[in-house]
């Protein structure tokens, strides 16, 4: 029987803060009426800021907040803190961007914020856990929250379809993950990553059972990462879910799954390098191609970005395949850049779409640049960054990933990735063409952007340029975070 020590609680402080605020939001919800539901949003935002503050404080004064807890099943290290802050960034931007969206779509219930916070808690546990069961619990917490969020527009058929699809396929995938855990447990007698990794087998001598366990876990994660061939659900779900939720789940759970992938494949089970390299190589190559080719034909902006999200998962997988502290820090940089540009793009789309998300076709954006130059410029920045043009974070992100890949002699994969990103320019520019090179009048021109959304967009745009032009400090952080994994 494990005893709970106060120091253990200190080491999951960010998660505790988030949970407390989530519960608070739920408790207060019945007592808050009408327009003041937004207050709950601000409360949730306060929770996010408090959690972020606690991680900063712990990062600066590591004792007693850093270290392992609960008998080695949670590790509060720089690696997990980096990811926790990334999730908090995403949650904060999404909450800022959803308050007015929910009001306009008559869905302003406090549960939205509580679920967002709970989803974030789950993701934080995924990043911080060093025990397979804990990882599984984090995965479930975050998944269940996002299943509900996906169906948040209850009157909308697409949204319902998205939720159901996401739920059915998602539970199926977590079953795979659990099955993989069972294999590992059966072989080694422990679910602790550290303990299991030493007993799985010497390099190159994994039994078929051990390999199967690893592959099953990968399949479970691949679903969350929406990597090919487990990406089929993504376009439908991203299209159907409310746009701010899509912003949240196209980045948050994905980044969390990447943190788990890195911990398992690069941090622990390094003796299976040959096998995991094969898996990662194939799935990276497939994912990039499927995502980019799929996106070429889309006319719905949300769906287009869903395919682009698949492609981006492929690029990140290249970095994971590269491995080492270079690869991991590249992945961290890229995920942050991706969070800024993708959340920004989806938030803007959410508001341009109008009530009940009626305007999400590319043709709805015709002539936006003449009517609303600032809005169009903002969206252009997000798309240029997604396409990987210099001065934006998207370019340096790709650069760091591919540098790591070439360093690990993955020249073929890098060329494939770069050609893919050249192709991706075509579909991102389709939207830019619609905005700038078309004379039609758009209905989106009348959209008003409330100031919290402007703030969220401002943070994204400034962040994109800051990371793209002065990456030194941030790269330093990612290097510290990535090396902490190997301590």
């Amino acid at each position: 029987m494990m005893t709970l020590l106060p120091v253990d609680m200190m080491r999951i402080l960010p998660e505790i803060i988030l949970s407390v605020f989530a519960v608070l939001v739920m408790l207060l919800e019945p007592f808050v009426r009408g327009a003041s539901k937004k207050l709950l949003g601000w409360l949730a935002l306060l929770g996010v800021l408090a959690a972020a503050g606690s991680t900063v404080r712990i990062w600066l004064y590591p004792w007693p907040g850093m270290g392992t807890a609960f008998g080695g099943s949670v590790s509060a290290d720089e690696f997990s803190f980096f990811f926790i802050n990334l999730f908090l960034l995403v949650a904060g931007l999404v909450i800022l961007g959803s308050m007015d969206y929910l009001e306009r779509n008559h869905a302003d219930h406090g549960e939205f914020y509580a679920l967002t916070l709970m989803g974030t808690v789950g993701m934080c546990f995924m990043a911080a856990s060093t025990d397979l069961i804990m990882i599984f619990l984090g995965l479930e917490i975050s998944s269940i929250a996002t299943y509900i969020l996906a169906g948040y527009r209850r009157d909308d058929r697409l949204s319902n379809e998205a939720a159901l699809k996401y739920f059915l396929l998602g539970s199926f995938a977590t079953a795979f993950f659990l099955y993989g855990i069972a294999f590992v447990y059966g072989l080694t007698g422990t679910t602790n990553l550290l303990g299991a990794s030493t007993r799985m087998g010497a390099p190159g001598q994994w039994t078929a059972f051990a390999q199967a366990g690893l592959i099953l876990m990968f399949v479970g994660l691949a679903f969350k990462l929406s990597t090919a061939p487990f990406q089929i659900w993504a376009p439908d779900v991203y299209q159907g879910a409310p746009a701010p939720v899509t912003a949240f789940m196209s980045v948050g759970p994905k980044a969390a799954a990447f943190s788990v992938l890195i911990r398992i494949f690069l941090g622990s089970f390094t003796s299976a390098n040959a096998l995991s390299m094969k898996i990662l190589w194939i799935s990276a190559a497939l994912t990039m191609c499927v995502g980019n080719l799929g996106a070429l034909w889309q006319s719905n902006v949300k769906r287009l970005l869903a395919y682009s999200a698949i492609a981006h998962a492929g690029y990140v997988l290249v970095g994971v395949a590269a491995g080492g502290s270079k690869g991991i820090s590249g992945v961290m940089y890229y995920l942050t850049a991706y969070a800024l540009m993708n959340v920004g793009a989806f938030l803007l789309i959410a508001y341009l779409a109008g009530p009940d998300e009626q305007r999400v076709e590319i043709k709805d954006y015709h002539g936006l640049a003449t009517e609303r130059p600032a809005v169009a410029a903002c969206l252009t920045v997000f798309f240029l960054s997604l396409a990987g043009f210099p001065t934006t974070a998207g370019f340096l992100g790709k650069f760091y990933l591919f540098r790591a890949a070439i360093h690990s002699h993955l020249v073929g994969l890098t060329i494939l990735a770069l050609l893919n990103s050249a192709v991706s320019v075509y579909y991102y520019f389709k939207i830019i063409v619609a905005m700038y090179m078309n004379e039609d009048k758009t209905e989106c021109a009348s959209v008003t952007l409330p100031w919290p959304v402007r703030a969220a967009l401002g943070v994204s745009v400034v962040g994109i340029f800051y990371l793209g032009l002065a990456p030194n400090d941030f790269m330093g952080l990612t290097l510290i975070a990535s090396t902490s994994l190997f301590k």
Partner: protein, 510 residues
């Protein structure tokens, strides 16, 4: 003064961008002030680029070096030599003229137009001034975006298609180049061009196979930009659809980035591979010369004719570069500049005609010499310069290239000369159909001749054309030293390797 000298290149790069910011801050209503600001800043930039060109020898190439990114180390490393100063001068010279050319023809969204034009200039000068491979790539890619918007917003009917084709072609090429740059970094541990070069010379860090692949990765990116024969299909589309200023910049500067890249990176970094591929590339260049000329001959559209003539002229440049003889390389560089001036002027002239008649089809014209005497005189001078008549700029470059080609292989000389003859055929024939004969269309009878602004632009162009043709010495002298060093390195590297050829050890390189 010291401060100015130490930061001249930064100033010349970012002055246009500053102008773009000023225009952006002006707001949406004032198109006329946007024009004025654009003209002011482009003229200032021209002055600074003159300073760069005249002073680079005494000021150590205006070298600037500031660390930018820590890991991997990327430096903000700028410097110019004869070649890049020449190109910066060309850019600085053409941009104010482009502003003037667009003075009246751009009325819709004029502010944005000049913002993009100035931003484009920043990118172009940055490309020529960068000595850090990644910084170079940075500018190389950034520059695509304003050009994309210039073609896509202010272009003609098929502008969207042409602009996306332009971007996609270039991006595919640069994907390969970025791989090459990162690979080079892994081998040499630096993005800094001088250091990379030192490393390659002193340690022979590349295996011959790797060197060939790297050469190809860079070469294809540049070949698409030039464009060398099989990669040229984006060019006619982009040229024809672009607004006049866009075409001028495209022909005048953007295409030169390809040949510049070959001179700056392909030859010095991978001399053996360059030697090995030279015959193939020369062949492609000659195909481009002949093919470009033949296709230009049958074009019904005046602008398309000029576009294909660019393919032919740039074929000369590539030929000159890969003949790898000092005089030919000098000729190629000279031809780069003079093609920028002549073809730039031709596009301006075609644009002026289009402004009046809204068509560029040759058959729509005829007998213009009577209704537009001044215009047709200018057109004649520019045409003659473009086809390489002696005492004009086009002659010097082509002559040097053809002379150089003779030392390499006589057949090059023969085919290149055929190209010169064909150029005379398509240019003069087009001139004849447009300007001589009876006036066949009533609209052409009362067509207005050049106004003051147009006369000003064309006079400047003609002065440069004749000046460069009559007295090329000052230009060539400045080029000389840079080219000699490059050639020295080319030959030395090849000699070193041939000496060592039998004992090529497998341990070197990866």
């Amino acid at each position: 003064m010291d401060w100015l000298n130490e930061h001249t290149l930064t100033i010349v790069i970012f002055l246009p961008l500053l102008g773009a910011v000023v225009i952006a801050l002006l707001g949406r209503t004032r198109a006329s002030s946007a024009r004025a600001v654009a003209l002011l800043f482009s003229l200032l930039t021209f002055l600074v680029s003159m300073r760069v060109y005249l002073g680079f020898e005494t000021c150590h190439g205006f070298e600037e070096m500031v660390p930018w990114m820590g890991s991997p180390p990327v430096n903000y490393h700028l410097a110019v030599d004869g070649l890049s100063a020449f190109m910066i001068l060309l850019t600085g010279f053409l941009t104010p003229l482009c502003v003037l050319v667009s003075w009246k023809s751009i009325t819709e969204r004029a502010n944005e137009f000049f913002i993009f034009l100035l931003a484009l200039q920043t990118g172009m000068i940055g490309v020529f001034a960068s000595l850090d491979l990644l910084l170079f790539f940075f500018f190389w890619e950034v520059m695509l975006i304003p050009m994309y918007f210039l073609i896509g917003i202010w272009g003609h009917e098929r502008r969207v298609y042409a602009s996306i084709k332009f971007v996609l072609y270039t991006m595919l090429g640069s994907a390969l180049m970025l791989t090459g740059i990162i690979y080079l970094y892994n081998v040499t541990g630096s993005f800094d061009l001088p250091r990379v070069m030192d490393h390659l010379v002193n340690y022979s860090a590349l295996s011959p196979v790797a060197e060939r692949w790297l050469f190809l990765a860079f070469f294809i990116a540049f070949a698409i930009k030039v464009p060398v024969f099989p990669f040229h299909t984006w060019l006619p589309d982009a040229h024809v659809e672009a607004p006049t200023a866009g075409s001028v910049i495209l022909a005048g500067v953007l295409l030169k980035m390809g040949t510049y890249g070959m001179l700056r990176f392909c030859l010095p970094l991978f001399p053996d591979a360059a030697n090995a591929f030279a015959p193939v590339i020369c062949f492609l260049a000659i195909v481009g010369i002949i093919y470009g000329a033949l296709v230009a001959m049958v074009q019904p559209d005046l602008k398309k004719l000029v576009a294909y003539s660019s393919v032919a002229h740039l074929g000369f440049c590539v030929l000159g570069i890969f003949i790898m003889r000092p005089e030919a390389v000098e000729g190629a560089i000279y031809q780069m500049f003079s093609h920028g001036v002549s073809t730039g002027a031709l596009f301006m002239l075609v644009g002026m005609l289009y402004d009046r008649r809204h068509t560029r089809l040759i058959k729509e014209f005829g007998g213009l010499a009577t209704s537009m005497p001044i215009y047709s005189t200018f057109f004649l001078i520019v045409t003659l310069s473009s086809l390489g008549l002696p005492i004009m700029n086009g002659f010097v470059g082509e002559f040097l290239i053809i002379v150089g080609s003779f030392y390499r292989h006589a057949s090059y000389t023969v085919f290149a000369s055929i190209g010169v003859v064909l150029a005379a055929v398509y240019l003069l024939w087009a001139y004849q159909r447009v300007f001589y004969g009876e006036i066949t269309k009533e609209k052409n009878r009362n067509i207005a001749d050049c106004d003051l602004r147009e006369k000003l632009i064309l006079t400047i162009m003609v002065i440069v054309i004749i000046g460069m043709g009559v007295y090329p010495q000052p230009f060539l002298r400045r080029l000389d030293r840079g080219v000699t060093t490059m050639m020295f390195r080319l030959n030395r590297k090849s000699l070193l390797l041939t000496d060592r050829a039998p004992a090529r050890h497998p341990g070197v390189g990866r």
